[in-house]
Amino acid sequence: MVDLSVDISGLKLKNPIMPASGTFSEDLAEVFDLDRLGAHVTKTITRGWRDGNPTPRVCEVNGSMLNSIGIPSKGVGAFIEKVVPFYAHYETPLVVSISGNTADEFATLCSEVSVPGVAAIEVNISCPNIEEDGKAFAIRPSSTHDVMRKLRAATDLPLWAKLTPNTGETSEVARAAEEGGADALVVANTILSMAIDINTRRPKLGNLMGGLSGPSLKPIALRMAYQCARATSIPVIGCGGISTVEDVIEYLIAGASAVQVGTATFIHPTIMLSLIDGLEDWLSNQGLSSVKDLIGTVIDGEQDEAVVFMEAAP
């Protein structure tokens, strides 16, 4: 028996596979037993009601997708009344994803969702759809630090900060989140992108721009997960483009302690189960008795040469 359990700053998960926010809901319970997952992560909620973005809200691009769903939300009241009790049926810990337009509103929501039945709060400081032109707290270290401090003061629950690839300062933002009080980092959200229909000359998304997810995102999010694992001492949860067991293993080797699976669930609703089984088989074939033995085992001692190579490239 391989031990698949992992520890995310004191929160014990029976396996390192969980859904990514916005690509999972209670509805999936009609396809498989949700208690097989390492954690349940909800769609981001906001304090008040939100309708979300205009349609079309998704399109596909070369074996990946763009979305501009926005954050349709029924508000925190409905969430606590209806959604939290639903997940209480399961043993699996519930992680609630939240977002706010201002740091204070964000912090208020954070304390409002700190209710029994919630095991951790994932703070979506990275969603490119809400803020004008895709700006988000996690683009800059200073705004990341400020909002995380307010959130830290608002709850005693573990706080997971979800970072954005739409920044040029990954390691700095990761450190700012840690210093601000994050217990773990979720790396990463979608990349702000665009697609145009050449016949109509109109953007393919109603919101003009949206977030890229799926396999195309993986090398970028994997690089970020690696950078964040090196830059901080809190656990990193890898997210972006995972659709095979090899992808999961790559993230774990890069330094992630667990992973989130998003778009792949739209293609194969039961994929997370295959990933759990596949990971167990792979570890066992490798003669490893615990998934923890794999985490952060990347061999990266030849950095200087890699840099030289990149500089030499045309």
Partner: protein, 279 residues
């Protein structure tokens, strides 16, 4: 943990399945439409209902790489034969790839999904109005009406008589079939309205069923309001997950005096005809 409002027995039961099915046939029906027949287990077929759909993982074929699944209405489900049928129009990358499937190939399907049509106890005379591929969605309703012993009038519209589909099928289920075509100049809305008003005058219209067309929806809403006749419509919207998670498939509906956004894959694809908003 919060107080358990419901017991563990209330954990949702499994209703939809993701599995590969093998192709029994995949033939053109006419110049535009194809019929795909899959061998399906009894377990799944017995759960299918008229108006529901499957989310199909189209293969990669001919250099096309459809990524997201494609929703398709159940055209027919036959537990006794172990068959699941889809009638589809080849329009883009996904359906072109579907058209490449040959006998014995496997197709990964997810379903059955969505809310089916319902037939209220006092709806004895049903009127089904459909055009083109909309017939695919309404066909299993004829089977259900027949099973329940209801009378059915099927008004089938198409560009050309050659593109009329399922008329024999409807007739074989005891439906009165009325065909209207552009080529014969009979499919315009004024004529459709006359035909429907005729049915109402004969006491042959307790409820309407339609799908897909904006113009038909408006017309049926107007007639429905005029005579107090209810109805249901199957709607389409682009889908990613097909099971309610992603919220990409929402459409606006009138509910009382407000507008609400509902997910076509989850709260639909079948909706109250009067609540639907023409587009």
């Amino acid at each position: 943990m919060p107080e358990r409002i419901e017991t563990m027995d209330d954990v949702p039961s499994i209703k939809a399945f993701e599995l590969p099915l093998s192709v029994k046939s995949n033939e053109p029906v006419n110049g535009e439409y194809r019929l795909l027949v899959l061998a399906a287990p009894h377990d799944i077929l017995k759960r299918c209902r008229a108006g529901q759909f499957f989310h199909l993982l189209c293969p990669q074929a001919g250099g096309e790489t459809p990524y997201l699944r494609r929703p398709m209405s159940i055209y027919g489900f036959y537990p006794e034969k172990g068959e699941l049928h889809f009638l589809y129009k080849v329009t883009g990358a996904g359906t072109r790839a579907l058209a490449s499937l040959a006998l014995g190939d496997r197709l990964n399907v997810l379903g059955p999904l969505g809310e089916p049509f319902t037939i209220a106890d006092d709806w004895q005379d049903l009127v089904l109005v459909a055009r083109g591929v909309g017939l695919a969605t309404l066909a299993p309703l004829a089977l259900e009406a027949n099973r329940l012993g209801r009378r059915l009038t099927a008004i089938c519209s198409a560009r050309h008589p050659d593109y009329l589909m399922s008329t024999d099928y409807f007739a074989s289920l005891g439906a009165d079939v009325i065909t209207l075509t552009d080529a014969e100049g009979t499919s315009d809305l004024d004529n459709l309205e006359k035909v429907i008003e005729g049915l109402i005058a004969d006491g042959r219209a307790d409820a309407f069923y339609t799908c897909g067309s904006n113009r038909m929806l408006r017309l049926l809403q107007t007639i429905g309001e005029r005579h107090g006749i209810p109805g249901q419509i199957a709607l389409e919207q682009q889908m990613a997950c097909g099971i309610g998670m992603c919220h990409c498939c929402v459409r606006p509906f009138n509910r009382g005096d407000r507008q609400v956004h509902l997910r076509v894959c989850r709260e639909g694809p079948v909706f109250d005809m009067m609540e639907a908003i023409a587009w």
